[in-house]
């Protein structure tokens, strides 16, 4: 049986996304895939002990989509997957709003979990997005976290 390439869906947009619709798209892709894992990142009301009122997300148009596509293709080579969706929002976001969605379907759960985590770990360290935190009357660019670099490095083999 020939394994076909997974369905890849990459979106960078200001608008919110519909989690239910994205799940449905993964679920409908093919009934040979028994496992769906989704990750969603939300704007938290606190970060590093500071109260946050929102986020501003800047990106590098063009490069972002390219990097995310490359990541999805790398995942498709490492694991046998049915479909992958990566959505990242840009612009102004309020507390508890959705920032990012990564969803993966595969035949078996370990592949879906690993691919989803791999995509998030590399998105965090490689995709050209920059977050600015909005606090009471001030703005702070978020600095990179060493834990994110370590998370990405653990996939090197």
């Amino acid at each position: 049986m020939v394994e076909s390439a997974p369905l890849i869906n990459i979106i960078v947009q200001q608008a919110d996304f519909d989690h239910a619709q994205e799940y449905q798209r993964l679920k409908d892709h093919g009934s040979q895939y028994g496992a769906i894992v989704t990750f969603t990142g939300l704007v938290r009301d606190m970060n590093l002990g500071e109260s946050v009122s929102g986020l501003f997300l800047e990106h590098y148009p063009g490069m972002t989509e390219k990097v995310l596509n490359d990541l999805a293709k790398q995942a498709a080579q490492k694991w046998s997957l049915g479909a992958m969706t990566i959505i990242h929002r840009v612009g102004q976001l309020a507390i508890n709003q959705q920032i990012v969605f990564v969803g993966v379907s595969s035949k078996h759960r370990s592949e879906a979990f690993e691919a989803c985590q791999f995509l998030m770990d590399f998105l965090k360290t490689n995709a050209p997005f920059w977050k600015k935190e909005l606090r009471q009357g001030s703005e702070h660019w978020i600095q990179k976290k060493q834990s994110d670099e370590l998370a990405a490095q653990k996939w090197d083999t």
Binding site: G62, M63, K66, A127, P128, F129, K132, W141, K144, D148
Partner: protein
């Protein structure tokens, strides 16, 4: 060549985009020329954290560049 700046670096330099004619041959050479624009440029562009992409692909400062290239400088990425 088209030079882009993003994130905190864009705010620190106060510039999002520059056009440079007859630019140097490497990313490193370009950084030197830009750094000579003033103290702020010197300070922020020489940070070891600055990343660079040529034609939307991350690369290092030895990378060769050409007249039609798009070169972007930016701080470490923090999306997700």
């Amino acid at each position: 060549m088209k030079i882009l700046f993003f994130g905190q670096l864009r705010e620190q330099l106060g510039v999002a985009e520059l056009l440079v004619n007859d630019g140097p041959d490497t990313v490193g050479g370009l950084r030197e020329i830009l750094a000579s624009r003033g103290d702020l440029w010197q300070q922020y562009l020489s940070s070891k954290d600055v990343l660079v992409a040529v034609n939307q692909t991350l690369c290092d400062f030895d990378t060769a560049i050409h007249e039609d290239d798009e070169i972007a400088f930016f701080p470490p990425v923090t999306g997700g």
